[in-house]
Structures are given as C-alpha cells and as structure tokens.
C-alpha cells in the first residue's frame, strides 16, 4: 500500500523512448486483465458456484479451459469472477480515494499556512497505521463484507494522492499562467480545471493504476490468510489457499490465480518505471 512515486522527470532521447515503450507495455497488460475481468464472466457464461462433484480436479481441456477445482467448479469462470471482484473493488476504492486526496492536496498547496499544516498532520495520522493493517481492522469490523474492505482501502489510499497532488501543484500555482488567470479575475474553479488538473493528469493516471493494483494485492493477501472475503466467494487469495493443498497433483490450479496476480504486478511495475529499471 505504500508507493514512493518518482516525479515525472524529464528524460532524454533513447532512454525516454524506452521508458515510454515500457509504460505502454505495462498499460496494455493492465488493460487486458481489465478486459478479461469486465467481459470474462459474461463470455464464459458458466456459473462459478456450480459444483459437479463427478468432475473434480479435471485437467485443462475443451470443456474447462483451466480445469476444475476440488468441488468440480470451473476454474476459468471463478478466475474471471474473482478478477472482476478484485479489480472492481480496487478501482472503486482508488477512484473514491483520489477525489478527496487530490482536492485536499491542491487546497493545502494553495492556502499554505495553518490549513496546510493541519492537512499534513491529518495525512500523517493516517500514515501512522500501515495500510494493510487499516484494511484488516475494517475487515474485522464486519467480516466478509464488501463495504468494510472498501472503506479500509479508500482510507489508506487517499494519502498518496494527497502527497503527490500537494507536491505537484506547488510549481503550477507559482507559475505565470496561474498568476495571469488570477489577475484576469478567473476563480479557483477555473484555475483548477484549466491549469491544475491538466498538469496533474499524467501523474494521477499512473497513480490510479498503481494504487488499484496495490489494492488488488492487499485484498488477495487478506483473502489468503483468511481475514478478507470469505468462501465461497471467488477471490484471488481465497482461490490460492483453496488450491494450495493440490499443488502436487494439479499444479495448473494454483498457477491460474498466481499468474493473474503476477501479470497485475508486472503491469504496474512497468507502468511506473522510469528511465532507471526499478
């Protein structure tokens, strides 16, 4: 849940082109996972909860592309539903964390003084609890409920937006363009729309992908140790812990959710990579 994001430094020549290619690749990976999770459940059309006990632990084949689990449920269908659930919840949390985070960051940069100090203190307060711990506490408030996980995720994610927006809007606010706008009598809303948001957009896009992927990992980690969502919900971490006992006889089972998670992480790493490979 922690990301020390580098500022978009001006790179030159070959290195910047390489970085751009890397970022594009990362974006494509994340986009394809997103497409799979969005349309997968509908296209596959198998109920992820339907058990066929005669067909347990089938290897991948024509009927079930990724085989079946120990209860004879289609792994592909479960994987698609799990991806949709994780990505949906993570994106929702990331977007709703971004809005107050960015606005408060801009306000802090704009108003300075006591307001800024207060907001920084508030961010520090949230930072006193590691993100995963915060999500875990909220998950414990209402075990297995989506809303509890969602609130925990949003609460832990907004700080990063706040910090980035505060740092990135400072030079914009001090620039000539904003000064000219203010002199011409345009209000804060106009300055935000015309000057601040366009300047922040590239950083925020990266940050959004980054924090959503972080949220997916947090959900999977909590599911994996049994304090996140509860079975029979198809969820990546839960699937991994269900498949782990069968790693010997059916290694392709555990490979499916692991591969999906790894794709997400790789896509995220490529997306935030600078000229220097991380």
């Amino acid at each position: 849940m922690n990301g020390s994001l580098l500022d978009a430094s001006a790179l030159t020549g070959r290195r910047s082109r390489r970085a751009a290619t890397r970022r594009r690749t990362g974006f494509c990976i994340l986009a394809s996972v997103a497409v799979f999770s969005l349309f997968g459940p509908a296209v596959i059309g198998i109920d992820p909860a339907r058990q066929t006990l005669a067909d347990t632990l089938l290897p991948p084949g024509a009927a079930h592309w990724l085989g079946t689990d120990v209860l004879g449920r289609s792994v592909l269908a479960r994987l698609a539903h799990a991806a949709r659930l994780s990505l949906g919840l993570a994106l929702l949390a990331a977007v709703t964390a971004a809005i107050p985070g960015v606005l408060l960051g801009v306000v802090a940069s704009w108003r300075r003084g006591r307001i800024e100090r207060g907001l920084v203190m508030l961010a520090d307060a949230v930072l006193s609890v590691p993100g995963l711990l915060l999500v875990l506490l909220f998950a414990a408030l209402a075990p297995g409920r989506y809303w509890a996980l969602y609130i925990g995720l949003s609460l832990s994610l907004w700080v990063e937006y706040f910090r980035v927006a505060r740092a990135a809007s400072r030079p914009v606010l001090a620039g000539d363009a904003v000064q000219a706008s203010r002199l011409l009598g345009f209000g804060p809303g106009y300055v935000l729309r015309r000057h601040l948001l366009p300047a922040l957009a590239p950083v925020l896009g990266t940050l959004l992908a980054f924090s959503a992927a972080q949220a997916v990992l947090a959900l999977a980690a909590l599911g994996f140790i049994g304090v996140g969502l509860q079975p029979p919900t198809p969820e990546l971490g839960l699937m991994m812990i269900e498949f782990l006992p069968h790693y010997e006889e059916a290694p392709w089972l555990i490979a499916a959710p692991v591969a999906l998670l790894m794709l997400l992480v790789f896509g995220m790493m490529l997306l935030v990579s600078e000229g220097e490979p991380a």
């Binding site: 993100g131 414990a140 994996f224 991380a278």
Partner: protein, 321 residues
C-alpha cells in the same frame, strides 16, 4: 546548535502526533467493533463475572449501570479513549489473560523476525548493490537487476508459499512452520528479507554510483588514496543516507509483511496474534496487537529519521530537505 535542536524537535513532534493519532484511530475502530459484537454487552460481561448459569436480567442491569453501558455513545467512546490513554488494554476475551502480558510476549517474537529479515536484506542486498555500483554494466550487475525485478514483482505471501513448497517440502531442508526448531526463523526471515534485499541492492547501487562520481571521492583518489580507502572514507557514508532513507520508506513493507508471513509460517508474533484475534472476534486483543504493530512502525520510522539526521549534516542545518 539551535538548528540541530529544531530538526530533532520537528522529528519528535511529528512522530508524537502519529502515536496519538494511532491510538485514536485504532481505538475508535475497535470501539465500534466491540459494539457490533453479537449479543448484549452487559449480559456478556455479567456472564463473564458470575458464570453463565447465574446470569439474570437483574445482574445484567446492575452491570449496565455500574459500567455506564446505558450512557450515550459518545460518552462511552470518550471512556474507551481514556482507557487507552491510561494504557489500560483490558483482558483477552478468549484466554482471560491481560492483553499487555500477551502482547509483550509476542512482541519479542516479531522483533526477532524483523531483525532477522533486516539482517538477510543487508547481508544479501548491500554487497550486491555496492559491487554493482562500482562495476556498473558487469555480469553481477545484470544478474542483480534481473533478480531484483523478479523479487520485487512477487508479493510476500506468494514468495512465502514458493519457499515453503520448494525449500521445506521438496528439499526437506528447513522446518515449514512453527518456532520449535532451530532454524525455523530462516524461512519467514528469508521471505521478508529477500523482498527488501532486492530494492536495497538497487538503491545501494545508485547511491554508490553517485558517491563514486562525486568531487570528494575524486579528490580522495587524486590525493593518492587507493580505491578501497577512498570508498571506506568518503564513499560509504555518503551512500549510506539514501539507503537508510529507503529502509524508512519500506518499514511499511516489513510491518505488513509480518502480518502475512507470521500467519502463514505460524510464527508466534504480533501479526499472527492479530489474525487469530480477528478469527476469534477477540476485540481487546485485536486492539492491543494493532496498537503494538503501529507503535513498532512509528518507532522504526523514528529510528530511521534519527539515522538520516546523524548521517547527513546538511539536514541538521536545514539546507537539504
């Protein structure tokens, strides 16, 4: 001298605010958790006192009045905060022991694990990073980069499973879980340490390259010191500041990782206790464990801040942020 004091004061103040915030945040969430437990609180407490057979409505009402459970919510919340402020964490609902004694016992195990993980990270990451920085583009450099990318991409819980299956089950080399054997700390410490080592090696490499290219290092070479002497006298301290700062940023990784890794390896630390308290709906224990982990995290950050100040005199004079 006065500049030094203000730098220290700022650091201490920031972390003190964090500790207060930690208590308020964790306390409030746990307060509502306690309120949302099924059943009537007064009846539960009365049952705890007089035994389940002897609970009557009268006894429950007596408890309700005595503990002020009939008071409005905000008063009860204030009372709850007051208890935390007085360091009164109550007793575990499951074992009946005081939360303090349980937590202190587990804290030792968690600190052991954290120290072992940091040791793994330093032993693996620093030499690789230093060598890569001084011989950029060599085969060790490339190998380290490849390893770092792979290790950074694997979340701790996946790495834990991989290590379990490969090292402990396949090779039968180390105990898989628990803490009854010599060497059982190795697998959890490797899981956390390798993840840290990957990033540490990259940061060390960058810091070493910068230090080796700096004028002070150049001058040390010019005045006739050997590469090794110049490195020890001028390179290391300069390179140490970003490395220590990196550890501070990744303290979160260590604390979050501890929750997951302790649970998976049945290592009897705070993270393990926290997860089991969640399973048992043992609210005082959840609160105690969460507060303790947060405190550990804040104190670790404080140590890192102090280390950065000690290494970099410019910060003390407020030149470089």
């Amino acid at each position: 001298m006065s500049g030094k004091r203000t730098a220290w004061g700022g650091i201490l103040l920031r972390r003190a605010v964090q500790i207060v915030a930690l208590g308020l945040l964790v306390g409030t969430v746990c307060f509502f958790m306690a309120r949302s437990l099924p059943g009537d609180m007064a009846t539960r407490i009365a049952a705890g006192r007089y035994g389940y057979d002897l609970v009557s409505n009268a006894a429950a009402d007596a408890v309700r009045i005595e503990l002020g459970l009939d008071r409005p919510l905000w008063l009860a919340l204030l009372q709850w905060w007051g208890e935390i402020a007085r360091l009164d964490l109550g007793t575990s609902l499951v074992t009946g022991n005081s939360v303090w004694s349980e937590v202190v016992h587990q804290l030792g195990a968690t600190i052991d694990l954290a120290v072992a993980s940091l040791a793994v990270a330093v032993v693996v990451g620093l030499p690789l990073g230093t060598w890569s920085g001084l011989h950029a583009g060599g085969c060790i450099d490339r190998l380290t980069l490849a390893l770092a990318v792979v290790l950074r991409a694997v979340p701790p819980f996946l790495l834990a499973v991989l290590l379990m299956v490969l090292v402990a089950v396949r090779l039968g080399a180390l105990p898989v879980a628990g803490d009854h054997h010599v060497g059982s700390v190795l697998l959890p410490a490797l899981t956390l340490g390798l993840g840290l080592a990957a990033g540490l090696a990259r940061v060390t490499r960058a810091a070493m390259r910068e230090a080796a290219a700096s004028p002070s290092f150049e001058f040390a070479r010019t005045k006739g010191l050997s590469d090794r002497q110049a490195l020890v006298r001028h390179g290391l301290r300069q390179a140490a500041a970003p490395v220590v700062a990196y550890l501070g940023v990744h303290a979160v990784f260590l604390v979050e990782g501890a929750v997951v890794v302790e649970t998976l390896f049945a290592w009897p630390g705070i993270g393990h206790a926290l997860v089991h308290a969640v399973f048992g709906r043992d609210v005082p224990m959840i609160q105690g464990a969460a507060l303790c982990m947060g405190l550990l995290f804040v104190v670790f950050n404080l140590l890192v801040d102090a280390g950065c100040l000690a290494l970099d005199p410019r910060r003390r004079r407020g030149e470089a942020a």
